[in-house]
């Protein structure tokens, strides 16, 4: 384990996380969040857990953050949003995350080039050990996580649910109105939200 590399990456992680919660622009905050996650990945690599480092980048920085950014960028439709988006191209927006990410890349390149950094770590955990831990002692944890996701899915479905109102069944629906949304007003065309929904 390279101590200096650890402290650099840790400092970047703390700094970017503070920036995430202080930035007013959502996209900029998310860029910092991506850098924060990558710096955690570098720490993992430095500690002798290359598999975790890869997972961190692939799952968090790779898929979740990219999804966040897509959603945030696509949500604001209209003229104001277009103006806001053109601002994103300003150097002011991305220069900070780029510099910090550059430092991390340099650090990672140094660690990779050095090659023997892992000698200092307690021991390197290969993917096989992770798999063995997950499918032996933590088997129940892995399986019960599916119940967690199931519960969250049902919850998300409930929150996002609204009565489908097809023209021919509209009256029938109104008659036995068992839904919380029944009689709440028409569905706004194309928006997928009921009137008055937040």
């Amino acid at each position: 384990m390279n101590v200096i590399a650890f402290y650099i990456a840790a400092a970047i992680a703390v700094l970017t996380t503070v920036l995430v919660i202080t930035r007013k622009n959502a996209v900029q905050a998310l860029l910092y969040l991506a850098v924060s996650l990558i710096s955690v990945a570098v720490i993992f690599y430095d500690l002798g857990a290359p598999f975790m480092a890869a997972l961190e980048v692939i799952i968090y920085a790779g898929s979740i953050i990219v999804l966040f950014i897509f959603v945030v960028m696509m949500l604001n439709l209209g003229k104001r949003a277009t103006e806001a988006e053109s601002k994103l191209l300003h150097a002011r927006m991305w220069i900070g995350p780029i510099i910090l990410a550059g430092i991390l890349i340099a650090e990672l390149a140094y660690l990779l080039a050095q090659g023997n950094t892992r000698v200092g770590a307690a021991h390197v955990i290969p993917p096989r050990d992770v798999g063995l831990a997950l499918y032996r002692p933590y088997l129940l944890g892995v399986e019960i996580s599916s119940m967690l996701l199931m519960g969250a899915l049902v919850g998300a479905y409930h929150l996002g649910w609204h009565k489908q109102r097809k023209p021919e069944t509209q009256d029938a629906n109104r008659e036995h109105a068992t839904s919380p949304d029944a009689g709440r007003g028409p569905v706004r065309t194309g928006s997928g939200r009921t009137v008055g929904a937040p």
Partner: protein, 519 residues
Amino acid sequence: MATSLNDMMQTVPQWSDYIRILPEIVLSLFGMAVMMLDAVMDESKSQKALGAVALIGAFGAIGATLYQAQYPFGYGFWEMVRVDAFSIFFHFIVAAVTAVVILASFEYMEVQRIRAGEYYGLILFGAVGMSLMSSAVELVLIFIALEISSIATYILAGFRRRSATSSESSLKYFLLGSFATAFFLYGVALMFGATGSTSIFAISRSLESGNISLLAYAGLAFMFVGLGFKVAAAPFHVWTPDVYEGAPSPVVAFMSTAPKAAVFAVLLRVIFEINSPVPTRMWLIWIVAALSMTIGNIAALVQNNVKRLLAYSSIAHAGYILVAFAALPSSGIPAAMFYTAAYAAMNVGAFAVISHFGGEGERYVTMEDYAGLGKRSPLLAVTLTIFLLSLIGIPATGGFFAKFYVFSAALQANLVGLVIIGVLNSAIGAYYYLRIIVAMYMHEPKQEAPVAPIPMGAGLALAISVVVTIYLGVIPGRVLNYAQQSVSELTPVGQVVSLQAPHAVEARMATNVKKALAH
């Protein structure tokens, strides 16, 4: 107690492993069955049927728990879960509360026009997490179980979507609850850093063997903050009144008892196992217990909304239970367990009354609405009176023995100051519970219209709650004996556990695989 070498070598779960999580399996299967049936059945007819399926699931979980009690106790899934009298006690509370709450929800769903499918599904999924929490002895697994239970209750709190207070309740609970869970997770991480393990027994052994680092103290404190939030103990209680006020009443009955019982089970295990080598644990719990009792009771004095009043009362009762935590394990653990059971019975009952009386949109929840209830619906008034008397701690109700055992456990541990604070608080508490009783019997009703007759589901739920409350107050011996017996089966405090920690199993398995690969 020590697992044989054969068990260590096992590569797939054995039959016995599945029996150790039988209630969770039953609840999960029925939860999924409810969701499936909801998808294929006609919505106008399915509501009662789904409730019935969920009810069978909850009773199935009770049956599974009873079956577990007959089966030899021990570890399952590589020492991730431990089934003993202690976990069976809490399994039973969770499953029974789930069943009674489902019964109480039967008519409520129709009155409030709530879609039943997700509601019953989420209650069963939540019960899976709560059930698992009480038998898990590994902090990562406890965390996952805690999250399952929390996510289900966040959504359930906001189930009356047309009501703004319900949505507020859900959002508030979600934001603060996630924050608290993060505290718990951070505590687990620090504890892992200090001891190199997330197994409760391995942590306990590691702390016994050497001097305890600051990291371990910090980890324990963070975990206590996270769990303290979930049971609504005093410095972390601010969310409780708003959430209980907005959430549907049957859901409040559920979330103020079942998850609390499960989290108290975790706290008991964590505090009495991990913290056992730390003699100075008392003062922290002492302060939290005293604060919870005092803040809860004093704030409840000025409440006019009965749901908010019971929310503050629930903070106070968390304080009474924590008094037992400050006592010695031999008397404190059974006292806390008994209190949890008694509180579950009386609180579920009280909220079942509130949910029936509230009517559509839960309109009737203030003190003025309860005025003259004794004339308008004598049966409902008598039932609520029994629960309120039990919450005060009047003899012949479960609440009396619960308080009695807790305070005598504290006296045995020489915590005279805490007992004095507790008894004074009980006196303060009597005032506001009596206020409701006085309003019901002595004040003139605002409206003369009789209350809707108690429907069958709610009636059954009330009957069960009344019977259990009085049973615990008249013949507490059996339940208390079971609680005491379960303490002797918990790993005795201070004894070096002759078990292999999960990571030891893991290491051994890794070498086995290496050998196999070499061939």
